[in-house]
């Protein structure tokens, strides 16, 4: 089951990196620079802070739900069952840390 968990964590880290870049990055840290450009009638930084970031957040959760549910299906199929049995034998195996 290590494979499943590793893929799970990879997807999560990538999506969270986008989350931090758009929300905290474009919305706050780079706002002054982005505000020099404009999008329609909006200064770009302002648009990211009040519209763009929220749209990206919704898409991120959608992508996460699709990818993870697909991953779940993949691993709860036959291939997954074998790995699951193997994992059950070596329960409490190698430790992983994420923070």
């Amino acid at each position: 089951m290590q494979g499943y968990w590793r893929k799970n964590v990879t997807i999560m880290v990538v999506l969270l990196a986008i989350w931090a870049f758009v929300g905290l990055g474009c919305g706050v840290l780079f706002a002054k620079t982005l505000n020099q450009f404009s999008l329609g009638g909006f200064p770009l930084g302002f648009w990211f802070a009040q519209q763009g970031s929220i749209i990206v957040f919704i898409i991120l959760i959608l992508v996460y739900a699709i990818l993870l549910n697909r991953l779940d299906n993949e691993y709860s199929g036959d291939a997954g069952k074998e790995e699951l049995a193997a994992a059950a034998e070596s329960a409490g195996g190698a430790e992983e840390t994420e923070e």
Partner: protein
Amino acid sequence: MGIKGWTMIFVGASFTLYLVIAWFSRVRDTRGFYVAGRGVPAAANGMATAADWMSAASFISMAGLISTMGYAGSQYLMGWTGGYVLLALLLAPYLRKFGHFTVPDFVSDRYSSNVARSVAVLCAIFISFTYVAGQMRGVGVVFSRFLEVDINIGVMIGMAIVFIYATLGGMKGITWTQVAQYWVLITAFLIPAIAISFKLTGNPVPQIGLGSELITGDGKGMGLLEKLNQINAELGFDSYTAAFGGDAMLNVFCVTLALMAGTAGLPHVIVRFYTVKNVKAARWSAFWALLFIGMLYLTAPATAAFARYYMIDSIDGKTQQELPAWFENWEKTGLILWLDDGDGKLRYSNRDDNEVFNKGGLTGPAALLGWDKIIGSQGAERKAALKLLNGQKKIRGPDKDIIVLATPEMANLYAWIIALVAAGGLAAALSTASGLLLVVSSSVAHDVYYRMINPEASEARRLLVGRGVIGIAVVIAGLFGIYPPGFVSQVVAFAFGLAAASFFPAIVLGIFNKRVGTIPAICGMLAGIGFTASYIIGQVYFDIEPWCFGIKAQGIGTIGMLLNFIVTLALTPLCPPPDERVCALVDSARRPETAEDTAPAAVDH
């Protein structure tokens, strides 16, 4: 028919609907009472989560805050929606996999300790009551302005409704009522925004209208945002679109992050993910929730900008005869007030010539005078009083809470639209209040009574205790509404800071790090809570300068959270690892869900 007549109809109809739903979803067991039998479909749970989460603060106050703060107001938009991403990716699916009833349940199981459970229970109850107090204020404002009844009677009516559907149906009743409340509140928010957008810019989509050119008034042909920047500059306010208005970047960053982590740690939002069938549904329901929340949050910036335009355009420079009707209507509530300096013209600005206030709490020499004397003053006395008032930032300008409620009136929309907004505000306040009260009930009845005091209690008895506690909690919440504690607005910052500094790190580490044991987790939580609480209390009650890099009370949860992570991780190598049972528990959450996991969840619905 007038505004009052329409409001009676809308409020009456929506309240009746909530009661009918409550009757059809009454429950007989604790599973139904606490987690709605785990049979709520993902999309419905998404709507319920959205209504649960979007409180009177989102519906009534947020657009008002953005309207006043400009760019810096974005911290609420990004903080409250960005927190959902954390919740969806880091917490929701795993917590659903563990399959508990409450957040303290998870904390105590993962850290095998009743001390940890007690800390979690206290936090959950504190956060919930803090929040409920804010909702009750929203209910009071709506009732007193639109139905012209006494605030106390308004609060009592609202409480009676919540009492009935929460005790009858528990989580199940609350869930289905919240689904209805979502539609009431989103309709009430979108219709006026669309109408105003069309009126001001000719584009019915508020999100596009926000970036479009005005088609009316003296700013015709000018971009709305450009016009707002111009008005703000003329009147001495900070620019509307420039980065951070009058705020520092570090502060905006910390507030945004604290609100994000705080959102993810709020117990009444987390428990919503316990009500769905399985992990897959939990993931989908997080998506639906943010989509439904996004409908309001993407519209709020537009409402805020429209309101800013109308607020200044319709009152600044006007004489008593020229002032619009909405101003007089709201003046009765004391949330907006004009004190003329003698020239007969209203002046709303960010300088000392400002004449618009709200009847907030006075401090210093102004408090000695009191509002009655200030309002009764004339000539030189009035001028001296204005100088004192303008020295107090908090009472300068209208109360931010009236902005969303008054905008439809400012834009001269139909009476029924204005009434719809009142019903929406009530839906937002009641849906959140009921969700929070259930958290209080489950914390006391399930975590304290059943898990710690009387584990042998029968099903019927647990249900009775659950209902009893929710009844008592409703009464306490009602008292908060009738005798509002003066600290409501400050403690909301507290609730988020606390959630960010306590639950969020404990749950994240509990899932993603198998090595973290009981002692580090409890020390981390206590360090986070202790630092955050003392910083906020110091700043709010003892006027201590924000000594930590100038970060204000609202943002300090970010530092508290970091502290919690650091303390926990630093102590971890020195303390014993968790036992095998806990390791197996964490492992089980890291495996994909199988059919066996979800089988017992099938309950009729």
